[in-house]
Symmetry: C2
Subunit: 482 residues, 2 copies
């Protein structure tokens, strides 16, 4: 049994727990023979597809339309925005040959697609009538990261990138809020992952952006993980790619742009890490590939048929009600093995059906998140499952929020900052705003980073910087990060 | 208006018609600055997503599960199956650099993923319990084609690849039939594209396969287009990648494999080409991004509000009924311009609402496929739309089948073959079975190719080869192709 289940505690050794869950729950396989590129197995792909669907639905509600741009970006496009190329070029994969021939110019595998999209935007945007333009694509991107970790940092990873163009900066800034709301609706409301939406300090913004805003969640080991980000690109790319429009006033103007990237990989990592427990994955019903699993239990061959008959009826009834249900009638595994396996995979609801259930017209319902069982009358089953759908998500949100809040502490003195970071906390503190101070803090604390200010934060007089003691203009969040 | 609409007739100049539809209906943009790589615009992406969904649903019904494998395949994987590498290597794109560094070994952009999947199958398949293994992925693939044509032949194109492994050859052969049925259910039943499912001659099979079966449709210019294919891989890859299982009899055996590739790009091309008319796209409702468009018509400002009010009510009612509806209330365009634009884009149903419709409690319903209008009472509208959903698809199927059948002729003599191919027909003819004869036919007819035999065809005595006069063992289909 030890080989089947997770052998470490999530709270004691998160890193090992995470690796074991990814492998034992059948999520990723790391044995593919290119370093940093992983195989996404079916259970993971089904979860990821559900998450994509949530984001795409929300994006489309706010006027975004799907597109698909080429994977490859010519080197000359990259060169157009100076900061952007400096930021990304060191980690770009280059296609240089086709068959036996050397290509005339190198082609980058998209590390992000600003320089592909905006090349076309210069054709597509001519008049104020063409604005706003709001497009997104759901794709893999490629970066030659030195250290990789599945679903957290990869050389190939899945995301969405939404690229929007507006007539005014004000509309672009409103888009930043809409993006934040998009993150909240999916990441928090549907997936139960709490986050802070922070405006990054100037030295930590996206290469080529005027301003970067990002959602940080806190992983079980206390390190924060950036799970989505949105950038106020100002008119930098518009000028680099000559994206202009004839405004109503007859004047030709550069557009204002934003880009938004929900990190599908990392959101999935956070989902796994934050809700999971020592038995494995714990999934909300809305993303669970199987929402309800039915396990028949019988010890005598003579009981088999009546138990299975009831199971099949339940299966049909539950499917009819619109749920993803699986009757696990495999004979080569014991009920106990199945219990463990489906718990490992995070199936939210398990129904146990034995002779007693047949005779009493009931089902034993096991709830994965609380790991409790209760008897439910057959006639109540569907309404019970409907209720669980909401209850389970609410329970996961409650727990996640409790954990998240417990991991944020306030500090006003250097020792408090050090102590908090040492014990895996995120620190809210007055800050002088100087990059040198942030660098010093990072070095002294072995990685504590200034993550930024809350989006509506106003600069002011906030006493003394908790780190250097200089006058504080900001309240920032500081944490170690992935 | 000529700039807005298609300026050539599909029957007179299909090639130009196709280019204009792709561009004017807002499907692809060819101006991206890498040759052979196209931008998929929103209208196309929505159609493609619907087609993907149909295939994925059908694949999952027959036990396939989704996965995602890395884009890059190390050169050594390629080398393992000799025919496969010979077939694909000349057109592979190679990643050779990351940042400033040269990679230790070249990585191929997947031209197809046998050599990625089966590398992992050697880990995943150990016992008969692991079989059958049926996995698919929905991805872009990359081939450095010399001549490209959007949605027909690209350096980057969209498809699905399903890779299945079985304990016996018999099961693998059954899978070929299941794949054919999958193609029939989606390509014919849902999309109304007729095709012949043919067993390719030995010299035209997939590199690395024992046998190739493929669906050929006929494009409006009479050339056939292969839109899906499935391959009996035998045990070739199993031996190359050492994919074995311990069978129930205690013996270790190689698996039998198949792979199936619905060509999403080409199926979309066929959908556009076969159903379209001189006004533009004609879409069945099941893939139309907008199924019903409502165009308000008023000439006096005083009529505007009551017309729009009715439009909004209809919009809400139609959306409520589950349809994708769009109320085109844009004031910068005339009703006539809107009519043309939505016809160009292939919206199946247009509702025209003017003062008369308001006063009589009716709607004028325009059906894109037949280009006819009729008055429908408001109270009948939803049931009318429901009926159209089926009627339109049936009409498209009827027409497509009629065209398809009219393009297949029987020939028994060389002159008949020549004449048929010259006039854009597919020829059904007795054939000797020799590759040299097929080569001669191809050269003499400027491209007529032996496409293969029907799947259930049995060899026998079929008189004389229509081309060379030698004894005929086969009845084959011959056509010029894309």
């Amino acid at each position: 049994m030890s080989e089947q289940g997770i052998t470490v505690s999530k709270s004691e050794d998160f890193s090992e727990w995470y690796s074991q869950v990814l492998s034992k729950a059948g999520l990723v396989d790391l044995r593919y023979n290119v370093q940093g590129f992983v195989v996404h197995k079916p259970w993971l792909m089904r979860i990821i597809k559900a998450i994509y669907r949530f984001f795409e639905e929300e994006l489309e509600k706010t006027g975004h339309e799907p597109v698909l741009f080429p994977l490859v970006i010519p080197e000359e496009n990259f060169e157009k925005e100076k900061e952007h190329v400096e930021g990304f070029k060191p980690e770009v994969f280059w296609v240089t040959q086709a068959g036996d021939e050397k290509l005339e110019r190198r082609l980058a595998l998209r590390p992000t697609s600003e320089t592909a999209f905006y090349y076309m935007y210069s054709y597509w945007i001519q008049s104020w009538r063409d604005l706003p333009l709001k497009l997104y694509q759901s794709v893999s991107v490629y970066r030659n990261e030195k250290n990789t970790r599945p679903l957290i940092r990869g050389r190939e990873f899945l995301w969405i990138e939404a690229h929007d163009a507006f007539a005014t900066h004000e509309e672009a800034l409103n888009q930043i809020r809409e993006d934040m709301e998009n993150s909240r609706k999916v990441i928090w409301e549907k997936l139960g992952i709490p986050f802070l939406f922070l405006r990054r300090p100037p030295w930590d913004k996206f290469s080529g952006a005027e301003d970067t805003y990002a959602a940080d969640t806190i992983m079980p080991d206390g390190r924060v993980l950036q799970i989505s980000s949105t950038h106020d690109l100002g008119q930098r790319f518009a000028k680099a790619f000559n994206v202009t429009f004839l405004d109503k006033d007859g004047k030709r103007k550069y557009v204002w742009q934003t880009c938004y990237g929900p990190g599908i990989w990392r959101i999935t990592a956070a989902l796994i890490a934050i809700h999971g427990d020592d038995k494995g994955l714990v999934l909300p019903m809305n993303v669970a590939p199987i929402q309800v699993v039915i396990v028949p239990i019988y010890y005598k061959e003579s009981d088999k048929e009546r138990v299975l008959e009831k199971c099949r009826k339940l299966e049909a009834m539950i499917r009819e009600a619109g749920y993803r249900v699986y009757l696990d009638a495999r004979e080569e595994y014991t009920p106990g093995w199945k219990f463990n396996d489906w718990e490992l995979k995070g199936v939210p609801v398990r129904l146990e059906v034995g002779v007693r259930e047949v005779e009493t017209g009931t089902v034993t319902v096991f709830r994965r998140d609380l790991r409790v069982k209760e008897k439910v009358a057959d006639s109540e089953l569907i309404s019970h499952i409907r209720k669980l759908e909401n209850d389970i998500l609410e329970e996961l949100k409650r727990r996640a929020k409790e954990f998240f809040e417990s991991r944020i502490v306030t500090a006003t003195r250097r020792e408090e900052v050090e102590e908090a970071l040492r014990s895996g906390k995120m620190v809210k503190m007055p800050f002088c705003g100087r990059e040198e101070c942030a660098d010093d803090l990072k070095e002294a604390t072995d990685g504590g980073k200034v993550r930024g200010t809350e989006i509506d934060f106003k600069e002011g007089d906030y006493g003394r910087c908790a780190w250097c003691g200089a006058p504080a203009r900001l309240i920032v969040y500081v944490a170690k990060s992935y």
